[in-house]
């Protein structure tokens, strides 16, 4: 078997070394590449991590900020809700208060209206209310061509009564007479007013003179029954002189009815007091007593005696 020459062997070894060197070089290159790649990857990872951490910090900051804003908003909503509730309550309080005050003023208004139209002592209508009612009833009677009647009652010998018993008793007497006259009214539209110191007027719509005379007789009858003691009067008690008139108005001068009852009252006084004077009828207190004793009920005032 032929042996290899030493040259061949050296060539082989050199070739092998060259190949090995190439392989080592390649491996070194590969290792360097891998190191670069690894370093790059690590550095990249660090950069990403740092970036993520920064982003996370920012996000957490934002979350905190948003939570704070949310808290502030909640607080604001609570405050606004409370303020809104308060305002509603204040509004309700003010509204209800204003209603109460309205009622208060209304009551005062009614009170003062009432006081302005009524006599403080007797509680009867005063001249103002009488004039207003008269104007209205006169116009209505004229429009409907219905009679309107008026009674003017004057307390006889009232000054001596005051002198004898004193003014407080005089006032009490006027109050009793006012109550009695109120009781003599039968219809809703009838009015009794204190016309002067001791003068009273009854205004009776839809009533003719006959009906008005019966109301007057009824008053005299009740007055005699009341029997208010007056030692300086001829009969020893309080009496009335009464002028009675009725008319179907044909002008706008309601003063003519006032003038007529006033004239008839004057006649009653002139003829000796304690009597009723109408257009024809005249009745004294004594007559009334007699009728009262007989129990004649025709003198009692009532709607049936008047024009329906």
């Amino acid at each position: 078997m032929p042996a290899s020459t030493p040259y061949v062997q050296v060539l082989d070894i050199e070739q092998t070394l060259a190949e090995l060197n190439a392989t080592v070089e390649a491996l070194r290159q590969e290792r360097d590449d891998l190191e670069i790649a690894l370093t790059t990857a690590v550095e990249h990872g660090d950069a990403i991590e740092q970036q993520l951490e920064t982003a996370n910090r920012q996000l957490q900051g934002e979350v905190r900020e948003r939570r704070m804003i949310e808290k502030q908003l909640r607080h604001l909503v609570t405050t606004i809700t409370q303020k809104s509730r308060d305002l509603e309550m204040v509004l309700q309080t003010i509204t209800e208060h204003a209603d109460q005050i309205d009622l208060h003023w209304l009551a005062r208004y009614i009170e003062s209206e009432n006081a302005a139209r009524h006599d403080a002592l007797t509680g009867l209508a005063n001249r103002r209310l009488l004039d207003e009612t008269m104007e209205r009833e006169w116009a209505r009677a004229r429009r409907q061509q219905q009679p309107l009647a008026m009674l003017l009652c004057d307390v006889d010998n009232f000054k001596p009564y005051n002198d004898c018993y004193g003014h407080p008793t005089g006032d009490e007497c006027l109050k009793r007479l006012a109550g009695m006259l109120k009781g003599a009214l039968r219809r809703e539209g009838d009015l009794v007013a204190r016309y002067g110191g001791e003068e009273f007027i009854l205004l009776l719509p839809n009533t003719d003179e006959t009906g008005a005379m019966r109301v007057a007789h009824g008053i005299q009858q009740t007055l005699s029954e009341l029997d208010i003691r007056h030692e300086r009067a001829p009969l020893g008690r309080i009496t009335f002189s009464i002028g009675v008139a009725a008319t179907i108005p044909d002008s706008d001068d309601e003063g003519e009815l006032f003038a007529e009852v006033d004239r008839r009252l004057y006649l009653a006084k002139q003829q000796g007091r304690n009597r009723i004077v109408g257009s024809t009828d005249q009745t004294t207190g004594e007559d009334i007593h007699e009728r009262g004793a007989r129990g004649d009920q025709d003198d009692s005032a009532g709607p049936e005696h008047r024009v329906p």
């Binding site: 308060d86 309550m89 204040v90 309700q92 003010i94 209800e96 208060h97 109460q100 005050i101 208060h104």
Partner: protein, 114 residues
Amino acid sequence: MNSLSGEGYVVELDADRDTVRMAGALRLGGLSEYGPISQMLESALDGRSHLTIDLTGLEFLNSSGIATLSKFVISARNRNECALLIRGSNDIAWQGKSLNNLKRLMPALELQFD
């Protein structure tokens, strides 16, 4: 005694009795005219643990007045440092309803009707 008065009314602070008394008829024009009274009420709360508002002699109070009182009650409630007692009168018509409404603004408010 610290006091404010005008035509038909008086508002006075009795410091010894921790009481603000309002009496007469209060009908000032608008919240601005109620300013001094509002200030007196507010300052009466300072440093006190309890305060009485005596309205038993307050016959009349207009709408601006009740608005002033309402604002004061809200302020006392928000400050939450002073117990409030309001004394009213059964004889004065407006007080029944209006004062009870104040209690709705401040549930801790004590109402006392003589």
